[in-house]
């Protein structure tokens, strides 16, 4: 214990005695730990966000998308299935008839084009055509006005519901309800505004505030194609998600004569895939962080070797008054650990500051938890141990007489 305390004191003294040199060395560790810590915070933040989405949408959400995807491992790309769809209205009707207990069954298609109001054009908005019960599937609801009803769908009514951002862009602060706008040369009446969400849906990709939604039949009519690029629904309970997933699949399979040119996925699977992608990303950046820590560690090793060769005589003196190899070993190992621990502390603090700043100034949430601090500082200590051992051993093995005679 006395040895450990004295080792820490000696280490701090020696580090303080060579501030510039040691600051440069510590920089490598600072960078490495900063990267690890920030990445971990980011990973936890995104994971929290993903989990929140699952909870918001309910894990009983089921979606049917055109094209065969390999959800288990192949990766799911929400936009890859925007091509010609083999899903038909018949599929929708079959599900509706055979599984009346299913909730919020809805379908949607993409209508390309821009939205115009006199001279204002919103080209970034995404125009969808959808059936009546789409909103719960997007985890959003009406802020003002109303959503279109079955009658309007039957009659191909030219009505639209706008996302809050689109509304603001086209009508600024005016009341948009009842106003007219133009899509692909057709006049539409605004009947409702969506609640502002600022989150994106994994199934629709873009920000929900950018959406313009019209009745599905109207979409079919103005594009002159009867496309369906999404069907969404909720199984009666969360536990039944997988059961209904296969039921839905069987129904469509029968309709398509056994050809599996579509995919049925659950919300959990999709978010799981997003999580997988995140894992790969985390691993990749983690590798970079590790690399920078290794470089930092090599810096520590180098500076320890320099410090030891400068203090050879001190080692000889210590041995002459009774230090054994283990004592010397511990002294220099502690010095390496203290050095990288300081780096870890600084890197981790910087990362904490960045986490707070980024989280307040941007929608990205960084979760800088005690666990993150523990892991990052733990890493720095580990680096100190790994890269301190060899120099410490070389110090411990010095011959006392040669050491004491060295200058």
């Amino acid at each position: 214990m006395k040895l450990l305390i004295s080792s820490v004191v000696i280490a701090l003294k020696s580090i303080a005695g060579n501030k510039l040199r040691n600051s440069l060395t510590v920089l490598g560790i600072v960078l490495g730990v900063f990267t690890i810590s920030t990445l971990l915070s980011l990973a936890f933040g995104v994971r929290e966000e993903v989990t929140k989405q699952i909870e918001d949408l309910g894990s009983n959400l089921i979606a049917v998308v055109p094209g065969k995807l390999n959800a288990s491992g192949g990766g799911f790309n929400p936009s890859a299935s925007l091509g010609a769809s083999t899903l038909t209205e018949k599929d929708f009707d079959s599900i509706e008839q055979q599984l009346p207990e299913i909730k919020n069954l809805s379908m949607a298609m993409l209508v390309s084009g821009t939205v115009k109001v006199s001279d204002k054009v919103s080209s970034s908005s995404l125009i969808f055509a959808a059936s009546e019960k789409i909103l719960p599937n997007l985890n959003t609801s009406i802020e003002s006005g109303r959503f279109f009803d079955n009658v309007e769908i039957e009659e191909n009514s030219k009505v639209v519901v706008l996302g809050s951002k689109v509304k603001e862009m086209l009508f600024v602060s005016d009341n948009a309800l009842g106003k007219e706008l133009e899509i692909r040369g057709h006049k539409f009446q605004v009947i409702g505004i969506l609640k502002s969400k600022e989150t994106s849906s994994t199934l629709f990709g873009p920000n929900l505030d950018d959406l313009v939604i019209m009745p599905i039949t109207t979409g079919w009519k103005i594009t002159d194609t009867k496309q369906i690029f999404r069907m969404m629904m909720h199984s009666p309970t969360t536990e039944q998600a997988d059961e209904y997933k296969s039921k839905v699949k069987d129904i469509i399979l029968t309709n398509h004569g056994g050809e599996e040119d579509f995919s049925v996925v659950t919300q959990e699977e999709i978010l799981g895939v997003v999580g997988d992608i995140l894992d790969i990303l985390t691993a990749m950046i983690g590798a970079i962080a590790t690399l920078s820590l290794v470089i930092g560690g090599l810096g520590v090793m180098n500076i320890m070797l320099v410090s030891i060769s400068e203090r050879t005589r001190e080692i000889g003196i210590r041995k002459a008054v009774g230090a054994n190899n283990a004592h010397i070993m511990v002294q220099f190992l502690v010095e390496a650990i203290v050095l990288s621990f300081i780096g870890g502390l600084i890197g981790s603090s910087l990362s904490g500051i960045v986490a707070v700043v980024v989280s307040t100034l941007s929608p990205i949430k960084l979760v800088f938890s005690p666990f993150v601090v523990l892991v990052s500082i733990g890493f720095s200590v580990l680096v100190g141990v790994i890269f301190g051992v060899a120099p410490a051993l070389s110090a411990a093995r010095k011959d006392p007489i040669k050491a004491i005679r060295s200058e």
């Binding site: 210590r318 002459a320 009774g322 230090a323 190899n325 007489i401």
Partner: protein
């Protein structure tokens, strides 16, 4: 007692070999005041390092305080240096950037057992070499004579029986040299075995017994 039995220290350079000490036998009783005298290169320091367990002979046995040093492993030899001997060097060998106080207490860092009255003992020793007003000074802030007195205090902290001093006055002016010799003589009067390595005949005469070395042999 120090019993040196047919001790040799051989250095090999390829096929060449050189005996720094060649088959030396000598006994030094507890409480003796001895000088090891000889010209440069005669093996004085080598002998002192062997007695103090800082080095190992290539042949023969050193029995110090009933312990055969050849039978001790490296760790035990370190403990032997810590407890049984105190070294004083020509070039003082204090640890730089470290206070006088910490230099004196250095051997305690490596002691297995804590002294009950550690602080008083350190202060007492610093006081006895007349440096109590400079406890916080670093070696670079001390004169040569003062540094050597710190080294003496350090050598005494664990109450060793044997004090080994290698040219202790070699880097000092005559006034400081005399002061150091007076301290060593007093230590001997208090019962310590004091061994002084020197090439200075006059200095050697101050001791009770002179062991003369030449070319690694006792003459």
């Amino acid at each position: 007692m120090i019993d040196i039995v047919r001790v040799s220290k051989e250095y090999r350079f390829g096929r060449e070999s050189f005996f720094a000490l060649a088959n030396i036998s000598v006994k030094i009783e507890d409480g003796e005041y001895v000088a090891i005298l000889g010209p440069s290169g005669s093996g004085k320091s080598t002998l002192m390092h062997l007695i103090g367990g800082l080095d190992r002979p290539t042949d023969g046995d050193l029995i110090v305080d009933n312990e055969n040093l050849s039978e001790l492993n490296d760790g035990e030899l370190a403990e032997f240096r810590n407890k049984k001997v105190g070294f004083i060097f020509q070039s003082f060998n204090l640890i730089p950037n470290t206070s006088l106080y910490d230099n004196v207490s250095l051997p305690l860092v490596y002691s297995k057992h804590k002294l009950p009255d550690e602080k008083e003992k350190i202060r007492g020793l610093i006081d006895s070499v007349g440096l109590s007003h400079k406890t916080r000074n670093k070696p670079s802030q001390l004169s040569g004579g003062e540094q050597q007195r710190v080294a003496i205090a350090r050598s005494l902290i664990n109450d060793p029986q044997i004090i080994l001093a290698d040219e202790p006055t070699g880097n000092l002016d005559s006034k400081n040299g005399t002061e150091v010799m007076r301290i060593l003589e007093n230590l001997n009067k208090k019962g310590k075995t004091v061994i002084i390595v020197t090439h200075d005949q006059e200095l050697a005469k101050e001791t009770d017994r002179i062991i003369k070395l030449r070319d690694g042999k006792i003459i």
